[in-house]
C-alpha cells in the first residue's frame, strides 16, 4: 500500500452528497488479469457474464429506454417544452398529463426534454474527462521522470480542490448553461482516471513481455494501443459508467441551486427548484415528484449497469 494508491482511494471526484459511485474506490484495486484473449472474445465474455446479472440487464433496458426518450423527444413531447401552452400552474388534466408550471409550460414535455440535458451532460463530461485522464495518464506513466512528477503534482492540486464547490463557483462565474456545466465538469474530473491509467502503465511496463517488446524496438504507439489500453479498458469503462451517474446528479444539483441549466430550457434539476415553495411542495406534487423520480431512476439504472459491468469484467466485489 503506497501513498499513490491512497490518494486514488481518496477520490474527491464524488461529493459527500453526490456519491453516485458506490464503489469507485474499489475499481482499480484489483486490476483485471492481463488480457491474453483478443478484444472480440473479451467483449463476448463480458457480455455473457453481464447477462447473468438480471438487475443489470433490466437496468440496461431501462437506460436504453431513457436514451430512446431523449432521442425521440420532439416526437414524444405533446407540446413545445419552452413555450406557454396553457393556463399557469394548472393541475394534471387530459391535455396536460402532468399539469403546467408557473408560466404555463407543459410539465410532461419538459420532463421528456430534460432527459436530453441529463444524458448530454452526463455522457459528455465523462467523455471529456476520460479522454484527458487517459492521455495524461499514459504520458505520465510512459515517460516517467519529470513529466510524471509535474503531472502528479497537478493532479494533487486538482484533487485537493473541493470538487462540487469549485465547479459551482466556476460555472456560476462564467455563466451557467448546459455547455459550461458539461465542460467544467469534464475539465475538473480527470485526475482519478489519470491515476488509474498511470498505475496500470507502470504495472504493464514492468511485465517481462512488454520490457522485451520495448527492447526489440516496438514503437510506443504499438505498445500503448496493443498492450496497455486494452488492459485499462475495463476499469475505465466501469469508472466512466459511475462517472455518468455522478455527473447527472451533479448537473441536477447545480441546476437545482440555480447554477446550472437555466429556464426556459428544461432540466430535471431546475424543474425541482420550484419545489422549494411550500405551496408547490404540499399542494402541487406533480410539479416536483416526476422530475425527482426521473433523476433517481436514471442514476439508479446507470449505477446498476456499472455494477453489472464491474462484475462482468471481473474487477468487482464478490
Amino acid at each position: 500500500m503506497n501513498t499513490e494508491k491512497l490518494v486514488l482511494v481518496g477520490n474527491p471526484g464524488s461529493l459527500g452528497e453526490l456519491t453516485a459511485e458506490p464503489f469507485a474506490n474499489e475499481t482499480g484495486r484489483k486490476p483485471a488479469p492481463v488480457a491474453e484473449e483478443t478484444a472480440e472474445s473479451w467483449g463476448r465474455m463480458t457480455w455473457r457474464r453481464f447477462c447473468q446479472n438480471r438487475v443489470a440487464l433490466v437496468s440496461l433496458v431501462l437506460f436504453l429506454g431513457i436514451v430512446l426518450i431523449a432521442i425521440l423527444a420532439p416526437v414524444l413531447s405533446p407540446f413545445n417544452p419552452n413555450q406557454t401552452v396553457g393556463t399557469f400552474a394548472a393541475s394534471p388534466s387530459g391535455t396536460h398529463l402532468l399539469g403546467t408550471d408557473d408560466v404555463g409550460r407543459d410539465v410532461l414535455s419538459r420532463l421528456i426534454y430534460g432527459s436530453r440535458v441529463s444524458l448530454i451532460v452526463g455522457v459528455g463530461s465523462v467523455l471529456i474527462y476520460a479522454s484527458i485522464g487517459i492521455a495524461l495518464g499514459l504520458l505520465s506513466g510512459y515517460f516517467g521522470g519529470l513529466v510524471d512528477s509535474v503531472l502528479m503534482r497537478v493532479t494533487e492540486v486538482f484533487m485537493a480542490y473541493p470538487h462540487f464547490m469549485i465547479i459551482m463557483v466556476i460555472v456560476s462565474l462564467i455563466g451557467p448553461n448546459m455547455l459550461t456545466v458539461m465542460l467544467v465538469m469534464g475539465f475538473m474530473g480527470w485526475p482519478p482516471i489519470c491515476r488509474l491509467v498511470r498505475g496500470e502503465v507502470l504495472r504493464v511496463k514492468s511485465l517481462d513481455y512488454i520490457a522485451s517488446a520495448i527492447v526489440t524496438g516496438y514503437s510506443p504507439y504499438t505498445i500503448v494501443f496493443r498492450h496497455i489500453l486494452p488492459n485499462v479498458l475495463s476499469p475505465i469503462l466501469v469508472n466512466a459508467t459511475f462517472g455518468i451517474a455522478s455527473a447527472i446528479l451533479m448537473e441536477a444539483s447545480l441546476s437545482f441551486l440555480g447554477m446550472g441549466v437555466q429556464p426556459p430550457a428544461a432540466s430535471w434539476g431546475n424543474m425541482l427548484t420550484s419545489a422549494q415553495s411550500l405551496t408547490i411542495l404540499s399542494e402541487e406534487p406533480w410539479r416536483w415528484i416526476p422530475p425527482g423520480v426521473a433523476i433517481l431512476v436514471a442514476v439508479l439504472t446507470i449505477n446498476f449497469l456499472g455494477d453489472g459491468l464491474n462484475d462482468a469484467v471481473g474487477g468487482g466485489s464478490k
Binding site: L15, G16, P22, F23, A160, I170, L281, G292
Partner: protein, 317 residues
Amino acid sequence: MGAYVVKRLIISVPVLFLISVGAFLLVHLTPGDPADMYISPDMTPAQIELTRMSLGLDKPWVVQYGEWMKNLAGGNLGFSFSNRQPVGEIISQRLNPTLLLMSLSLLVAYLMAIPLGIVSALKKNSLLDRMIIGWTFFNVSFPPFFLGLALIYVLAVQLDLFPTGGMGVLGEENDWISQGMHLVLPVMVMASQFSANMIRYVRASVLDVLEQNYIRTAVSKGLSGVQILLAHVCRNSLIPIVTVIGTDLPKVIGGAVVTEQIFQWPGIGSLTVAAIHSRDYPILMSIVILSAVTVLLANLLVDVLYAVIDPRIRYEK
C-alpha cells in the same frame, strides 16, 4: 514517521499555493465588477471609486493577491465585501454548525453501516444481503435535494414531526432537544449518502477476510462465530474502514452545500452559495483554501492511521 509527516506537510505548501493562485485568478478574472454589488444607486462615481478602494479592488490583481497573501501570513483573512466583518469571524461562526451536522451524520452513518456491512457479508447472497446492497444503491442514487424535499414534505409538512429547517429557535434557550429535532432531517439526508460507501466497503473486506486461511484454521479449531468475528474479522476490517473515512473526511467542509441550502442550515455550504451570489471574494477564497487544507490533512491523517493500525505499512522518506 515524524519525518514522513513533515515531508508531506512541506509538499502541501506549494499545492496550497497553486490552489490559492488558481482560485484567486478564477474569481478575479471573471467579467463583472464585484464593487457593483456593494454600492448604493445613490452613490456618485467618486463615491463608487472610494468603495472600490476600500474593498481593495482598485489595484491590479497581482497586487491584490500579494496583499491577500501578506495578510494570510499574518493570520488575517481580510474583510468580507458584503458586510465588512473579518472573514475569520464569519467563517468560524459558520464552521461549528457544519462540523456538528457532518460529524453527527458520519457517526450515524457508520454506526448503521458497519453492522449492516458485516451482516451482509456473513449472510452473503441471502435475501437480507441483497436488500442491504439494493438499499445502498438507492442511497447513492437518490438526489440529496429530492430526498431532502421528500422528507420535508412527509415528515415536516404532512406529519408535522420535525421543523422544516434552521438550527434552532432563536431567543429561547436552545436545549439539546430542540437542536436535536432540527438535526434529524438533514442528518438523515447526509447519513444516507455516507452510509452506502461504508456498507459496501465493510462487506467486501469482511468477505475478503473470511476467505483467508487463518479464518478457516480458526473455524477448524472450533472457535465460535462471535469469537472469530471479534478476534480476526473486525481487526482486519479496520483498514478498509479507515479508507472510507479517508474519502469521507474531505467532504466535511464542502460536502453539504445542497443539504444546508434545503434545510437552511447556517453552515459553510450555505455561506458558499451566498458568497457566490454576492461575489464576496474574500469569503470564497477562504472557503476554498479551508476545504483544500481539509482535503490535504484528511489524506495525511488516513495515511498515518494506516501505519498505526497495520504495522506492515511503512512509509519511505
